[in-house]
Subunit: 179 residues, 2 copies
Amino acid sequence: MPDGPRSLDAQELQAYFALMEVSSLLRHAVEQHLRADGDLSYVQFQILARLSDSPTGSHRMTDLADGVVYSRSGLTYQARLLEKAGLITRSASPDDERSVTVTITDAGRALVARLLPGHVEVVSRLLFEPLSREDLTALTSLLTPVRDHMRATPPRSAAPRRRGTARRPTGGAARRPAH
Amino acid sequence: MPDGPRSLDAQELQAYFALMEVSSLLRHAVEQHLRADGDLSYVQFQILARLSDSPTGSHRMTDLADGVVYSRSGLTYQARLLEKAGLITRSASPDDERSVTVTITDAGRALVARLLPGHVEVVSRLLFEPLSREDLTALTSLLTPVRDHMRATPPRSAAPRRRGTARRPTGGAARRPAH
DNA sequence: TAGCGTTGGTTCAAGTTCGAAGCAAGTAGA
DNA sequence: TCTACTTGCTTCGAACTTGAACCAACGCTA
């Protein structure tokens, strides 16, 4: 039971650093593979994977953006590329005139299917090799609640779009438009 | 018992997805905080943190790039920004005329010190809150070997710079200059 | 059903990221 | 010590990302 607002001690920092380092390295390796083998970026693959995983083969733009933790405008950009490449289609939603439904095409599914083995190979070699079966189970049962916890709290797209009623995040700094 | 070149089963996929999802969400949250509170990007903070962690307060460019899993040219760019902001200095190495030694300044250390509490707060709230003390220990002991394993295999900058003896990565796709 | 705040997407400008190419300094071998 | 390869870093061009601004469709409520 976490007690009060304690700060990170050495143990915790190690966990945090290891987590970020592992994910960076893994992502980098996967990225290399996807680019070399299918000329896809990591996000693009994620998008296609999520779509092909969906029972309907489609998702709304916003849900995709939240799912892959990406900006909406970034998703618009990527969706345009994927559409141009014939891997997805975009169409207006029947029920909500505003929203755009993204659907994976057969070509998209085929591409995912073609890339998956290599993808899996990379992940296996890097992430799973040093882990036993029990380790995997343990890792999953540790990370899943964390994921849910993170998803539960401020859902990214729930960030208030603060227009009129703008109020600064708190900031000690002036929050310039970046460098 | 896993047999031969098995593919990822559901359990493994879950672990992989959870890992990437958690790190994405965490990184995104941390990024927001760093930007709002100190006008730093995640990489910039990582660079400063690594430097301030070093006994000498300095590192070579390449080592930094490898450390934070970043391209060399990207690091050059970021180093220029950090130098311009007075947070680091760059100087030629005494022993190797080619290499550049990056050193954190007092201002750099001060900034890290100022940002750390908030940083820790974000990480605590998102990552550690749903984990017990034992969970943390377990997570660390799972991820540390993985990190070491990943670091051991192809060290990123060891990628052959293939010049004359160039050979394409294999590609089923034409490997266009990206989209 | 008009008013008003919210939500879904896109566009735009500005900043970032990466790989390829280039250059200089190190290094190994003949 | 000349040649050829390697390594450390920067430059360059092209692609990617992002938040802010915008528009249109929704939803609530009086």
